[in-house]
């Protein structure tokens, strides 16, 4: 039987249940072999990481008769220890939306029509070749995501950077954790957290920087709550611009004005130094000081360029820099009372307390996102609370393989699977592993995500292949980029599992095998690589994104770069890819280790994972003489950066008096193209809304569930107001979740970005609220 045949599955289920009923009436009754087969319907439980967020929960997927039938949290997974969130428990339903894309489609006369997969792949390869011939290799681009499996991202890199010879590879992770990468790179010289989730079991204080963990990383938040239950001395501090479930569950909720987290972090450091709470020995031995350019702009100009110019600084300069950040001045700017700032400093400064800081989009989607990452590291470095159990800054990710694929495989314009394109040694290493001429890999990066879509609009990029992501919902200042993608002589290929606003702009749609319908690996926030086997047959003509790339590559004549067979190509890719990381600082687990264990945390040295990097007690790559060895930098020291407060790109004014922040909700993941097809999740959270502060609503005479119009300089939309709802924005602020394609809040957002990371700020722009039907805006 075809495994996709739902009717056959129902028939066998009906037969099995009738047989079970008969057996309870007449124990021992037997029927023929078909009935016996239907009756046993054995459920096999197989491991896979969750499809959704960057936590990377281990799941056990129940498979019966070729269909996924249930989910359990994997009790053996050190990530989630048997518990999931509502998305994970119902994740398998996302496989079975009736509108799954099962056939390739080509746009003819404005309509997508089904074609044989081979024909669509031929067309993609032909247009790719023609575009390169007519407009040059930098006119073609690949745009993927942090949901790419590691083999997907690796195949894309090898084709574009090693085969075609363009650095036009980007991923939507640029929109969610590029600032985390540049933060790590500038402070430590190496990407990704030093610690791991096990820090939760040891910490006394949890400081959440603009991070609604109760909804966005609920499984980790539950681990924190469990830690506090076991030790009532534990404190959870929620630093945010909006009151959320996390605030209510925390011991202290501290609200600050948008953008002023920069001042708050510096204020905490000021107070730590003034009170003598810093760890002078740690700073002396393991820290050096840097400052960079200020007022770098906001990336709004076409063809924006910025390069930071780091220069050495010292302790005296740092102390004098912090003089601007006295508690009183910071209080005035942030709205956080001076006593509260002193309290926060005392928590970080108390040598008897272990402190972990968590953050995600609040810090990263920030026009000074890199700086903000640096500033949190400053605090931990100043008090020496880093790289040991229970002490450390921890940058969370939002996508299942933002770390594993985008950061580790390096699917960004400037990166390679190890190192950056501007580094000759890294290019040589890549050329050697890929067996291509080294000059094929260009040394100059091309476009970051926002500028790649600007280039598509301008016509500098003419062909774009988009896999596993939905930019026509998620890009800021959306209207411009949608119009750009729709222009004549732009060719857009979209590989996806469901129709989305992005398939609406596609010239070719390729049907993708989803998640457990193919073999793959994800890498989560704590450097844990998790492998899963193919557990289901994909429906229709669906094939993995990896194999789509390989098929197109072969049509372009790159057979020698992709010599793998379908049966074992994932293993072969893993073996080739891990050659890039073959050193004690990076080494990944072997294919066999990945298959047999519920995830393996790199660096793996002699089969052992490294839980705390840079600490010689745990990290074999660290020099035992140094104790702490920040070996990513030439002087083996971590950096404290002098990064000032600077205002946001667009702040409220008389015409647009409210801050607009966007984000997620518990029930939906990203643009909702999967979770909205899960009945439980859609029925719990069927549509987007705008949260308005109670006092603001009273002043504007808006009641809960009234329809209002939000207007920014870029666009406007009508949407239901929620007052005193799940989240409570501070006065003067509104919040809209972005999962709902019917309410595209990104028509309103601004495409300003952090000049270093090029990550847009989705959390801050200015809007006004109008009430339809009433004359004049309030």
């Amino acid at each position: 039987m075809s495994v996709w045949d739902r009717r056959e599955f129902l028939r066998r289920t009906a037969l099995g249940s009738a047989a079970a009923a008969a057996s309870s009436l007449v124990p021992g009754v037997t029927f023929g072999s078909e009935v016996a087969a239907a009756q046993t319907q054995a459920v096999e439980w197989r491991k896979a990481p969750c499809r959704f967020c960057g936590t990377g929960c281990g799941l056990l997927i129940g498979i019966s008769e070729g269909r996924a039938v249930g989910v359990r949290g994997d009790p053996d997974s050190p990530v989630n220890r048997g518990v999931c969130c509502v998305k994970g428990y119902h994740s398998v339903q996302a496989l079975y939306g009736r509108d799954r894309i099962q056939r390739a489609m080509v746009r003819r006369n404005g309509r997508l029509v089904e074609v044989p997969l081979e024909e669509a792949l031929d067309l993609v390869a032909r247009r790719l070749r023609e575009t390169i011939d007519q407009h040059g290799k930098d006119a073609v681009a690949m745009y993927g995501s942090g949901q790419w499996t590691i083999p997907d991202g690796y195949a894309a890199m090898k084709l574009f950077k090693g085969g075609i010879g363009t650095n036009n590879v980007e991923a939507n992770a640029r929109l969610c954790m590029a600032s985390a990468v540049t933060g790590f790179m500038t402070s430590f010289g190496l990407d990704e957290p030093m610690g791991c989730y096990e820090d939760i079991d040891h910490a006394d204080v949890f400081v959440l920087w603009g991070n609604n963990m109760a909804e966005m990383h609920p499984v980790l938040f539950s681990r924190i709550l469990e830690r506090r239950r076991l030790d009532p001395q534990v404190r959870i501090i929620d630093l945010a611009t909006r009151t959320t479930r996390t605030s209510y569950a925390s011991d202290r909720s501290v609200l600050f004005q948008p953008q002023t987290d920069l001042a708050l972090a510096n204020g905490i450091c000021h107070e730590i130094i003034r009170s003598g709470w810093y760890d002078a020995g740690f700073v002396q031995d393991h820290v050096s000081f840097k400052s960079g350019r200020t007022r770098p702009g906001y990336g709004l100009e076409e063809r924006f360029q910025f390069t930071d110019e780091p220069r050495d600084a010292d302790w005296e300069e740092y102390v004098s820099f912090l003089e601007d950040y006295t508690p009183d001045r910071v209080a005035e700017l942030t709205g956080v009372p001076a006593d509260e700032i002193r309290y926060l400093a005392s928590l970080y400064g108390d040598p008897s307390k272990k402190v972990v800081s968590y953050w995600c989009m609040g810090v990263n989607q920030h026009v000074r996102g890199t700086w903000m990452n640096n500033l949190i590291y400053n605090i931990h470095l100043l008090v020496g609370k880093i790289s040991e159990p229970g002490n450390g800054p921890f940058s969370l990710t939002g996508q299942p393989s933002a770390c594993g694929t985008v950061r580790e495989v390096g699917t960004l314009t400037h990166a390679l699977p190890h190192g950056v394109v501007s580094d000759a040694a890294a290019r040589e290493r890549a050329a050697e592993i890929w067996q291509v001429p080294v000059d094929r890999i260009p040394e100059r990066p091309t476009h970051d995500t926002v500028q790649m879509f600007r280039a598509l609009d301008r016509g500098d990029v003419r062909f774009m292949w988009i896999q596993v992501t939905n930019p026509m919902v998620s890009l800021p200042k959306l209207a411009r980029y949608r119009e750009g993608a729709l222009k004549d002589d732009r060719f857009v290929v979209v590989s996806d599992v469901y129709p989305t606003p992005t398939t609406d702009v596609a010239d070719v749609v390729l049907p993708s095998a989803m998640w457990i319908e193919r073999e793959g690996m994800f890498g989560n926030s704590e450097r844990r690589t998790q492998h899963w086997d193919q557990l289901l047959e994909p429906p229709g003509d669906c094939v993995s994104d990896t194999w789509q790339i390989i098929e197109v590559a072969r049509r372009l004549g790159f057979d020698d770069l992709f010599p793998w067979r379908r049966e074992d190509h994932v293993q072969r890719i893993w073996e080739e890819y891990t050659r890039f990381h073959d050193s004690p600082r990076h080494r990944m687990g072997t294919y066999e280790e990945l298959r047999s264990r519920p995830g393996v945390m790199w660096p793996v040295v002699e089969g052992r994972e490294t839980k705390w990097r840079y600490n010689a007690d745990y990290d074999p790559a660290a020099d035992p003489e140094l104790g702490f060895d920040f070996y990513g930098t030439p002087d083996h020291r971590a950096r404290i950066w002098l990064r000032p407060y600077e205002p946001a790109a667009e702040e409220p004014d008389e015409e647009f008096p409210f801050w607009l922040s966007t984000g997620r909700v518990l029930e939906h993941w990203h643009t909702g193209s999967m979770t909205r097809r899960v009945p439980v999740l859609h029925q719990a959270m069927p549509r987007a809304y705008v949260e308005i502060n109670v006092e603001d609503a009273r002043e504007l005479n808006i009641r809960d569930r009234d329809l209002v119009r939000l207007v920014s300089r870029r666009g406007s939309m009508e949407i239901q107001a929620r007052v005193d709802y799940r989240g409570q924005p501070a006065p003067g602020q509104v919040f809209v979740p972005f999962f709902d394609e019917a309410y595209l809040v990104n028509e309103l957002t601004l495409d300003a970005f952090c000049p270093i990371s090029r990550e847009p700020d989705y959390k801050k722009c200015a809007v006004r609220i109008e009430v339809p039907g009433r004359t004049g805006s309030p």
Partner: protein, 89 residues
Amino acid sequence: MPVCGYVVLPRPGALEDAARDLRRIEGCEVFPAENDDLLLLVTESDSVQDDQELRQRVNGVPGIQALLLTFGEIDPDTPMGDPVREARS
């Protein structure tokens, strides 16, 4: 597309006749027990109305003493209401 599963208890001695009659009804699949006077029945039809008609024909088979419905599924699109809340509203 309704699919249903039943246990069929035939009248004494009527097993063969009941099985034969059921097999003649389109949409019926019959699975006799190997070691007992019992049948399993799976029915498939294209609409709720067809399913009702089919069930009436099954009910009309003279050799059947009792019919136990064990499984029924109509359309996955039909949202499942909450019985408790609906009962109160």
